[in-house]
Point group: C2
Chain length 186, copies 2
DNA sequence: GCATGTGAAAATCTTCACAGCA
DNA sequence: TGCTGTGAAGATTTTCACATGC
């Protein structure tokens, strides 16, 4: 909407777009403050800024990618160029054939370099390694000061981390496994 | 646990493993029936069967993969070999260079063949195409009788389908975007 | 004794109706 | 008049305590 030059948006507009009720939008916003103007709606630019601030997306975050297989490459393509203000600042792999090569001007490093993340002020990481290496990778990342992990290993492989570290797991097979339940219900 | 030869598991065991309370486990199960034995716990084999039945994972589901880029290849590696009883039964792409090649004994077909899905009794699909092609792909899939879609295009590209069709969207960049909120809270 | 299954209480989330303000 | 912000009502979910059965 911002790109289309719109100035304001109402809770009804947003609700229709998302498929929810207008009062859900308003109630949710109200927990964080008064963003709108009565009779007018929400100023789009201001709203974007407010939400980015709430979600802490108002600064650029450096991210390390561990594992640059097919999945790692796909992630780079998706997250690569600054969506939501992320900056893939380092890439690691265990495969000697890949180490030293460059992807998008970033040199692939050996996983033994992971310990340098703290010094480089990188505290987010994406785990795209094989399921067997996932826990070990997580341990190393935590030791290197990483505070948030996006984990692509299957959820039953059960990554354990100290609870000050936030892990979000994307388990592709499990998401697929949700579909049959819904399609049979209809 | 089953693979380790265990016979029974208690709600406490399951709860500890998942990081929730035992009574949450029991209450949830109780909505679907009486699976356990008082004083003993749940028979693991029987429990697996019951849950698979509830989730409709007790039969093999055929799945079509559309788009066999890096992401598509990664998905094949993850879902490829029968996890949760899925069977990747067809692969489609738009790139003439890929069409006709084989991956895991499956010949890559042109997307114009998507209409054959109904005849082949494939009613689940994975969309791993570029964001611009996502809606069009979804439309074609729906027309071909697909009832459930796992969609990897960004959620703001906003796939629209008839509501009898279930779509689950995995938006990698958005999941990553959740992390900063949690790490700053600690 | 031990662990499930469940009604009831407590907490939370959703919906609504309308006051308040541009 | 139009749309936000919000207290209160309604619905749902979570927690708990204990009766039930092996």
């Amino acid at each position: 909407m911002s790109k289309q030059g719109q100035q304001n948006v109402s809770s009804r507009n947003l609700a229709d777009f998302l498929g929810v009720n207008p009062w859900q939008i308003r109630k949710d916003f109200s927990y964080f403050g008064d963003f709108g103007t009565r009779g007018v709606g929400y100023n789009i630019e201001k709203l974007i800024k407010q939400i980015n601030k709430i979600l802490k997306l108002d600064v650029v975050h450096k991210v390390a990618l561990v594992g640059v297989d097919n999945l790692g490459s796909a992630i780079l393509a998706y997250v690569g160029l600054g969506v939501y203000g992320f900056n893939i600042a380092a890439i690691f792999d265990i495969d000697p054939k890949k180490i030293g090569k460059k992807i998008r001007d970033i040199t692939i490093e050996d996983v033994s370099n992971l310990q340098t993340l703290r010094k480089r002020k990188i505290n987010l990481a994406i785990i795209a390694v094989s399921r067997d290496a996932a826990q070990q990778t997580a341990d190393t990342l935590v030791k290197a000061g990483v505070k948030g992990i996006l984990n692509f290993s299957p959820c039953h492989s059960h990554i354990t981390v100290p609870k000050k570290v936030k892990v979000i797991t994307i388990d592709i097979a499990m998401d697929l496994a949700c579909l049959p339940y819904y399609i049979s219900a209809s």
